[in-house]
C-alpha cells in the first residue's frame, strides 16, 4: 500500500468523481423538491452530567453567594458581570460578544419535573423524553421526535441527530437522520468502487452506502478545515485507526457543531447533539471550565458555520439537573435540582438572564439544599418552538410535552 496524504484537494477531487452517486442521495442532494416546513433553525444541545447553573451564571449579587461558593469566587465575579446581579463564568468569556449583540441569554432557576432521586440516567431520560416523573421507565420516544410527529412535511433530513450513540431526545416514529462525524469512512478510490459493486443489488445497503460515503466526505472536509491536511499518516489503515481514536474521545465538539451547521445551512431545520463532562463532584474550578470550553467551542462553531442562517437560529443547551447550592468538601458540587439553561442564536432576544429568582437563603433553597426551580425547562423550549415554528400551544402542552403548562411568555425570541 503506498503512502498517501489525504489533502483537502484530494478529497474534493474525489467528491467530483462521486458526483453521480451523490445526486442519488436524499440526504446530500443540493436541492430537494419538497420544501421544509419552516425556515427557522433549532439546535438542541444536551449537557450531560448535571451542569452547575450557579457556577455558570453566578448570582454574585446575592449576599449568600460568598458563603456558598467561597469568598474568592464571589469577589472576582464582578469583573465578569452580566447585569449587575449575575456574572458569567470566565470560561465562557469568549461568548461575551454574543451577549452584547443580544445573541446569548440564560434562563435561570429552571429544571425538568424530575425531583429528589437525582440519578443522571433518570434525569436525562426525563429531560429528553419531555414528560413528567410519573412516566419514568415507560418512556419510548423523545420530545423532539414527538414535535416532528405533529408537523406535516417532515423529510429524511429535516432533523439531524449528531453523535455516536442514540439519543432518547430524537427517538420515535418521525424520521431523524443520524450521523457521527467520527464515523467518517476513509476509503481508497478502489475500495470505494468495490464497495459500490458489492452493494449494488441490495437497495437497503446500496442507498445507505451512498449516503455514508457522502456524509463521510462532508465530515472529512470539515475536519480538514480551510486548507489543512486531514491525515498526515501513511495509509488508509492508519487513517482509520486515527478515526477509531477520535471515536474514543466521542468526537470533538467543534467538529460536531461544524457538521451540524453545514446541514442546517441546507435543508435541515433541527439538529441535536450532546456534550459531556458536567458532573463536577470535585475541583470544580478546573473541571467545569473544561466542559464549558466545549460548549463555547460548539456555540462559536455553530455561529461561524451558519453564516447568514445564524440570524434564523436558536440554540438551546439544557442539562438533567443543577447541583447543590453549597460547595462540598472537595471543591465540587453534588447532584441538585434547579439550574441554568443556555440560549444562543441570532433569532434570540438575548442579552438577559430570565428568572423568577427564588433567592439563595437556606429557606429559599429546594430541600434547603439546591437552587429552587421556579420554571419548567420545557416551558422555555415550548415558547421558543411556539415562536420559531408557529406550533400551537395546545399541541405543545399535550403532544410534545404532555402535562406541561407553558405559563407566561418569557419573550426569548425576537
Amino acid at each position: 500500500m503506498s503512502s498517501t496524504k489525504l489533502t483537502r484537494r484530494r478529497l474534493l477531487g474525489r467528491s467530483l468523481a462521486l458526483g453521480c452517486s451523490l445526486a442519488a442521495s436524499p440526504l446530500m442532494a443540493p436541492v430537494t423538491m419538497a420544501s421544509a416546513p419552516w425556515d427557522n433553525r433549532l439546535v438542541v444541545i444536551i449537557l450531560r452530567g448535571g451542569m452547575d447553573g450557579l457556577d455558570v451564571v453566578r448570582p454574585y449579587g446575592a449576599a449568600e453567594f460568598a458563603d456558598l461558593r467561597g469568598a474568592d469566587v464571589a469577589a472576582s465575579a464582578g469583573k465578569d458581570d452580566l447585569d449587575g446581579y449575575f456574572a458569567l463564568n470566565p470560561a465562557l468569556n469568549g461568548l461575551r460578544l454574543l451577549w452584547q449583540a443580544g445573541e446569548l441569554g440564560f434562563a435561570h432557576a429552571v429544571s425538568t419535573p424530575y425531583r429528589d432521586k437525582r440519578s443522571h440516567f433518570d434525569g436525562q431520560d426525563i429531560l429528553e423524553a419531555g414528560t413528567g416523573q410519573d412516566s419514568l421507565g415507560r418512556i419510548r420516544d423523545g420530545w423532539l421526535n414527538r414535535m416532528l410527529q405533529v408537523v406535516p412535511g417532515i423529510e429524511a433530513n429535516t432533523a439531524f441527530a449528531i453523535g455516536r450513540s442514540d439519543m432518547l431526545l430524537t427517538r420515535g416514529s418521525a424520521p431523524v437522520a443520524n450521523w457521527s462525524p467520527d464515523a467518517a469512512l476513509v476509503l481508497s478510490p478502489q475500495a470505494h468502487l468495490l464497495m459500490e459493486h458489492v452493494m449494488h443489488e441490495d437497495p437497503l445497503f446500496r442507498d445507505a452506502t451512498v449516503e455514508a460515503i457522502a456524509l463521510s466526505q462532508s465530515s472529512l472536509e470539515i475536519a480538514a478545515g480551510e486548507d489543512g491536511y486531514v491525515y498526515e499518516t501513511g495509509d488508509m489503515q492508519n487513517a482509520m485507526q486515527d478515526n477509531m481514536r477520535e471515536a474514543r474521545r466521542g468526537g470533538r465538539p467543534e467538529n460536531i457543531a461544524r457538521f451540524a451547521a453545514e446541514q442546517l445551512r441546507k435543508d435541515t431545520r433541527i439538529a441535536a447533539f450532546s456534550l459531556n463532562g458536567f458532573d463536577t463532584h470535585a475541583r470544580q474550578n478546573r473541571a467545569l471550565p473544561r466542559a464549558l470550553r466545549d460548549l463555547e467551542a460548539a456555540t462559536t462553531a455553530l455561529r461561524d458555520g451558519l453564516g447568514d442562517v445564524w440570524g434564523k437560529t436558536a440554540v438551546v443547551a439544557m442539562t438533567e439537573f443543577g447541583r447543590t447550592a453549597k460547595l462540598n468538601g472537595t471543591g465540587g458540587t453534588d447532584h441538585g435540582t434547579g439550574g441554568v439553561m443556555v440560549l444562543a442564536g441570532g433569532a434570540l432576544n438575548g442579552g438577559k438572564v430570565v428568572a423568577d429568582w427564588p433567592g439563595l437563603k437556606e429557606v429559599e433553597l429546594y430541600k434547603r439544599r439546591d437552587l429552587m426551580p421556579t420554571r419548567d425547562v420545557r416551558a422555555h423550549v415550548g415558547w421558543i418552538m411556539r415562536h420559531l415554528f408557529g406550533l400551537d400551544q395546545r399541541v405543545l402542552e399535550t403532544s410534545v410535552f404532555p402535562g406541561m403548562e407553558m405559563g407566561h411568555d418569557p419573550g426569548l425570541i425576537l
Binding site: R138, L194, H197, V198, A208, T209
Partner: protein
C-alpha cells in the same frame, strides 16, 4: 426448501468457520443443543452474585468516602471506589471476550444465538457504574440454563432475578395496604412496571387479551418480590398487598402472601395461548425474516401449545418448516452477530481474542458496537433491540460496520488470509459473483477482507 448445512450455520448459528463441522441435519442441531454446555465451561462467565458483590463493596466504599472524618481516610475510600470500578470494568471486558469466544469457537452456534435471543426477550440492564455490566451474569443465571428447557422455567428465572426486579422497579413496589405501607403511613408505593412488561413483552404480547385492570392486579400480586441488601432475590410478605388478586379471570392468593401464588400466575401466563403465539412470532422474526411466513408462525404456535412451552419442540417445528430455509429473505445480522461471524470466518485461536485487555476490547469491539447501534447488553428499553433491517443499516451504522471490517481484522491478524480464499471461507456456496470479483480486485488484503465482510451477502443471514 429444506435443511441446508451452510444456511444452517449462517442463519441459525454463528456463521461459517473452516475448522468446525457444520450440522448435517436439524436433528443434529438439536442434539448439539441437548448436549452439555461445553462453551460455558471453556469460556466461563460468573453468576450475578459477583456483580452484587462488587456493588456491595462499591456502595460501602462510597459511603465511607462520604462519612470519613479525615482527609486521608476519605482519599483512601475514594481510591477504593475507583479500584472497584476499574476491576468491574476489566471483568466486563473479559465477559464480552468470553461471550464472543463462545460464538467464535463453538460447534453449537444455535445455542449462542438462542442465549442472545432470550436475553433480549427478557431484556434487563443496570444503571449504575457497577450494575451496568450485570447483564452478562444475569443471562448466565436466568437465561442460558433454560434455552433448551421449558419457557415457564425461563420466565420464572428471569422474573424473580434480582437484576430484573431492580430494572423494572419491582424491588421498590409496595402494596398500598401492605404492612410496610401502613407502618410508614404512606399510601401508594405500588409500581406497575414489571407487571406491565411481563404481560406486554414477556408473555401475552402487546396485542394480548389483557386490560389495565389485569396490569394493576398483577402488580399487586407481584408485591413482595424484591432484592435484599446483599443484592439477592427475596420475598418479603410485609411488602405484599393483602387479599386475593384476579389476573385474566383467575384468582390468586388469599389472606397471607405466598411466593407460590406469584409462581402460579407466572406458570399460567407462560402456558397462555397468546404467549405461545407471541413467542412463536418473535422467534420466527428474529431467526428467519422481519416478515415471517404465517404458516411458520402457526406451526410453531401449535407446537408451543401442544408441548406446554417445551422450547426444544418449538425449535424443531421452526427448523423443519420449509419457510425457515427460504433463500431470498435473510435478516441483517445484528452487530454482535456481524462481528463474531466475521471473526469466526478468520480461523482464529482463542488467544487472538484479547479478553484480558480491557482497553483493546473497548477499542476493537465495544466502541465499534456502539457506533453500529448496539452497545453490548444495553438495549435502550425493556422491549430490547429492534428487529427491522432498516434500523441497523443506516448510513452511520453501516459506515461503522465498514470501518470495522476494514481495520479490526488486520489488528487481530497482521498476516491476513488471501481475500479470495477468505471469501469462500466466509460465504461458502452462497458466495455471489460480485463479491468473488471484488475480493480478487482489491488493492490490499485488508481492503479485500473489508469488502467481503461489508457485502450484503455476508451481512445478511
Amino acid at each position: 426448501m429444506s435443511f441446508d448445512p451452510v444456511r444452517a450455520e449462517i442463519r441459525f448459528g454463528c456463521g461459517l468457520s473452516q475448522g468446525l463441522p457444520q450440522p448435517g441435519s436439524a436433528a443434529e442441531m438439536l442434539d448439539r443443543l441437548s448436549a452439555p454446555d461445553s462453551m460455558a465451561e471453556k469460556f466461563p462467565i460468573p453468576g450475578f452474585e459477583v456483580t452484587a458483590g462488587y456493588r456491595r463493596d462499591w456502595r460501602r466504599a462510597r459511603k465511607l468516602a462520604r462519612k470519613s472524618k479525615t482527609e486521608s481516610e476519605r482519599e483512601a475510600a475514594k481510591e477504593r471506589v475507583s479500584e472497584i470500578r476499574r476491576e468491574a470494568t476489566i471483568q466486563a471486558a473479559l465477559w464480552l471476550g468470553q461471550t464472543m469466544s463462545r460464538r467464535i469457537f463453538t460447534a453449537d452456534g444455535f445455542r449462542e444465538r438462542l442465549v442472545s435471543f432470550w436475553a433480549d426477550h427478557f431484556t434487563a440492564t443496570g444503571r449504575d457504574a457497577i450494575t451496568r455490566y450485570g447483564h452478562a451474569p444475569y443471562a448466565e443465571d436466568a437465561i442460558r440454563p433454560h434455552v433448551n428447557g421449558r419457557f415457564a422455567d425461563m420466565l420464572r428465572a428471569a422474573a424473580t432475578h434480582p437484576f430484573m426486579l431492580a430494572y423494572l422497579d419491582q424491588n421498590i413496589s409496595v402494596g398500598p395496604n401492605s404492612k410496610a405501607a401502613e407502618k410508614r403511613k404512606k399510601s401508594g408505593g405500588l409500581n406497575e412496571n414489571l407487571a406491565r412488561e411481563m404481560l406486554e413483552l414477556h408473555t401475552l404480547g402487546v396485542d394480548g387479551p389483557y386490560t389495565q385492570q389485569d396490569v394493576r392486579q398483577l402488580a399487586e400480586l407481584l408485591t413482595g418480590l424484591t432484592v435484599d441488601d446483599e443484592g439477592a432475590f427475596a420475598f418479603r410478605p410485609r411488602f405484599a398487598e393483602p387479599g386475593a388478586e384476579t389476573v385474566l379471570g383467575a384468582a390468586y392468593g388469599g389472606a397471607s402472601a405466598q411466593l407460590d401464588d406469584v409462581l402460579s400466575v407466572l406458570d399460567d401466563l407462560a402456558r397462555h395461548p397468546a404467549t405461545a403465539r407471541h413467542v412463536a412470532r418473535k422467534l420466527a422474526t428474529h431467526f428467519v425474516s422481519d416478515r415471517p411466513d404465517p404458516d411458520l408462525i402457526e406451526t410453531m404456535t401449535v407446537r408451543f401449545r401442544d408441548t406446554d412451552g417445551d422450547l426444544s419442540s418449538v425449535y424443531e417445528a421452526m427448523l423443519s418448516h420449509p419457510a425457515a430455509w427460504l433463500v431470498e429473505v435473510g435478516n441483517v445480522k445484528q452487530p454482535m452477530d456481524f462481528i463474531c461471524s466475521s471473526l469466526r470466518a478468520m480461523n482464529l485461536r482463542p488467544r487472538h481474542i484479547p479478553s484480558k485487555r480491557a482497553r483493546k476490547m473497548r477499542d476493537m469491539f465495544a466502541t465499534p458496537m456502539i457506533l453500529m447501534g448496539q452497545e453490548w447488553g444495553r438495549a435502550q428499553g425493556p422491549d430490547g433491540w429492534p428487529e427491522a433491517d432498516e434500523n441497523w443499516i443506516t448510513p452511520q451504522r453501516l459506515a461503522a460496520r465498514m470501518q470495522w471490517a476494514m481495520t479490526v481484522p488486520f489488528l487481530i491478524r497482521r498476516l491476513l488470509p488471501d481475500p479470495r480464499e477468505f471469501a469462500h471461507a466466509a460465504l461458502g456456496g452462497t458466495l455471489p459473483e460480485t463479491v468473488r470479483f471484488a475480493a480478487s480486485s482489491a488493492e490490499s488484503r485488508a481492503e479485500g477482507i473489508g469488502v467481503v465482510l461489508s457485502s450484503p451477502a455476508f451481512q445478511r443471514m
